[in-house]
């Protein structure tokens, strides 16, 4: 029996918004020239790029000249961290970050430490929420060049106290970088940040477009070899058709964001309640209230995460997992580790504009039997 596909991994990549597809096709015809040149085709490309930047800046609530498009969200995060540190190297060489940052931020931090810098990880509680006292202490230490905080956890959905964390940074003049990849186009952005990054394929734009926003007056210095494009913040010519599509879909996603957040949050609440009630020995993780509207995570005791992903895939469900057996490094998710919650049998379900109530119902109907089947196979029933 074949199962119709139900894609529930929007936190990795949302299906492309129809507006993105339309804009992409139009820009392929109209926006192939290098926008930096001085002829008609280039001027047309420049107009498209300027319009995309204006629209993106408007949605983010910043000035157009504060926005640069990068080749990916990962590149944007690397640039945000390394550029924020480079811009303040006279102040010191310490990066303060939460323990639950995206791996792109942590990999940039590793590079910084390898080069002789310092990185201080601030813990989170069992719900995945930043320890604000530890954060305030950490950013007050001498020599802090930059602080980095994800707006909301990409793995468990817990919204972070960004405004409070930003206030602690502002008290001591430390710029705050926020990774807003799971928030942009879905929920209102917090205030108080100096540098922000996002990734278009999380909001229904095409893959391969990141956004790096650096507020005016922030000491940020490009960590890359010199290049005059994108205000000197990221080298190389932009993928203009993809950028145009990203900007168009961001505007569309932001216009529907409030209604979609209400709709999806109700479905997420249903998943949290039903999974906890109908799957024995399951731990639903993350803050039950202060959370993203589209993302929910749980771990099933005694179940192999990889086996669970494959079993769900055979039934047509595409989900993600933070279990060690599903990662190339065979390490459990650092986010689940920092929270101290079960890491095996882990499933992250993330919804998007095409997700229907029927999709979620089918998932909830089939999940208990799939988990029971895997436990029976492994001989762990009744443990």
């Amino acid at each position: 029996m074949s199962a119709s596909p139900v894609y529930l991994d929007a936190a990795t990549a949302a299906p492309m918004h129809p507006v993105a597809r339309q804009a992409l096709l139009a820009a392929l015809d109209d926006g192939w020239a290098d926008p930096g040149k001085l002829y008609t085709q280039a001027r047309r490309a420049r107009q498209l790029l300027d319009a995309a930047r204006e629209a993106t800046a408007l949605t983010l609530g910043v000035r157009a000249d504060e926005v640069s498009f990068t080749p990916s969200g990962t590149t944007a995060a690397h640039g945000a961290v390394l550029g924020g540190l480079a811009g303040r190297r006279r102040v010191g060489s310490t990066l303060v970050h939460s323990a639950i940052e995206h791996s792109a931020v942590l990999h940039a931090a590793e590079r910084h430490v390898d080069a002789g810098g310092i990185a201080t990880a601030v813990p989170v509680d069992r719900l995945g929420r930043l320890d604000l006292t530890a954060w305030s202490t950490a950013v007050r230490a001498p020599g802090v060049a930059l602080a980095a905080l994800i707006t909301a956890s990409h793995e468990v959905g817990t919204v972070q106290p960004v405004a409070e964390a930003a206030a602690a940074c502002a008290d001591v003049g430390v710029p705050l970088y926020v990774d807003a990849a799971q928030s942009v186009g879905r929920v209102p952005l917090p205030a108080g940040w100096s540098v922000l990054t996002a990734s278009a394929h999380k909001w229904g734009g095409p893959p391969g477009v990141g956004v790096l926003a650096v507020r005016k007056g922030v000491r940020w210095e490009s960590p890359w070899p010199a290049d005059e494009r994108e205000s000197g913040r990221t080298p190389g010519v932009v993928n203009l058709p993809a950028v145009v599509a990203a900007a168009a879909s961001l505007r569309a996603a932001a216009a529907d964001a409030a209604a979609e957040a209400t709709r999806l949050a109700a479905l997420v609440d249903r998943v949290r309640e039903r999974v906890a009630a109908e799957v024995p020995d399951v731990e639903v993780v993350g803050d039950p209230v202060l959370r993203l509207p589209h993302l929910v995570t749980f771990s099933c005791l005694y179940v192999d995460g990889e086996a669970l992903l494959h079993a769900l895939d055979r039934r047509g469900f595409a989900v993600s997992s933070g279990s060690s057996c599903t990662s190339s490094t065979l390490r459990p998710s650092h986010v689940l580790e920092a929270m101290g919650v079960l890491s095996h049998g882990n499933v992250r379900v993330s919804l998007h504009r095409e997700t229907t109530e029927a999709d979620v119902e089918r998932f909830l109907t089939e999940l208990p039997g799939i988990v029971t089947g895997l436990r029976a196979e492994a001989g762990v029933v009744g443990l």
Binding site: D304, S324, L330, G340, V341, L342, S343, H344, V380
Partner: protein, 75 residues
Amino acid sequence: MPDEVIDCRGQRCPLPVIAAARRMPEVSVGTVVRVLADDPAAAVDIPAWCRMRGQEFLGSVNGPEGPAYDVRRTH
């Protein structure tokens, strides 16, 4: 010192947790069982299992036999 040792080295999670869960009802209340497990996920999952099952996690040691986790049966 533990009262007994379960060797789960070379096993991937959730197997070390399952081994601990199987052994626990067989030992008397108060017994300390040491789980040897070199899968890094055990460091997260054995304490989490103790919390979910109401058993006492005494801590981890990293000795000559690699990472080890001590659990006391409390009920």
